[in-house]
Amino acid sequence: MDLLALRRGDETAFRELVRDLNPALLRLAVVYSPTRAVAEETVQETWIAVLRGIDGFEGRATLRTWICRILINIARRRAASENRTLPFSSFAADDEDGQPVIPPERFLQSGPYAGHWATPVHDWAEIPESRLLQQEFKGVVAEEVARLPPTQRIVITLRDVEGWSTEEVCELLNIEPGNQRVALHRARHRVRAALERYMSLKTAER
């Protein structure tokens, strides 16, 4: 991103930045907001704050990390002023739901093969394409992501939807790489389980 162009008043540079970053900002804002309208307002407020602060941006973080951090701060401030309970105040807490990512009964409990699958894991590639509606498949994923606890949702959104690096996610959320991986692990497994339920419905339809 051409920061100088942005400071100079280059509208094309600004449009590019908005197109590039707005989807991620909206996805983040939605996690922190009670309604879609509040999320959109938060995003707009963020852009205003970005412009006010851009001359002071020193490039210690990447531009998008810096902008996303502004959004999170605004979203938190709004939540506090509206007396809303924040979805979370620290990032470590909400992933400690204590649930194993796979129900223990999926594995043999005893015998020489204890810890191995008790029932086979299906090869999704064997399910005929015709029964898999791509749109439906994506819909299942989107719905499950929306149901995740906030930390898992934000981590999987930034890493797997937006394609951010571990380093950038950790810097934005101020968490350790290990904690970030735990959240990612849980999030991916919950989405997998949702797809597995969907797939077993689909295979039962034959």
């Binding site: 600004f14 796979i102 093969y113 994923v141």
Partner: protein, 112 residues
Amino acid sequence: MENAVIIEDPPELPDDLPPAVQAICQTGDVEEMACAELVDRITDYLEGVLGPEVTLRLNNHLATCDSCEHYVAQLRTVIRTTGSLPSEQLTEEAEDQLVDIYRQWIAERDSE
């Protein structure tokens, strides 16, 4: 520094095990890694942060366990599908509104 990996013969399955169970676990490396451990470590594996020794154990397991192979393939499908979710672009109107804010900011700044 690294222990040699010894792949032993699989233990004999008890005769009374239902055929379905026998069909699942033909890994022959129960000493090495159980499927449950593979599941626990899979994100670290995909993220490339497992040590070389564990990576080797995991690869050995994966090479012989169909269910785990399918499992990892499922996770890759999850990652691919999550990455293909449509991103929401601003309406032209909303984008123009932001550009107006930008123009206003430039004008105010330049008049200072």
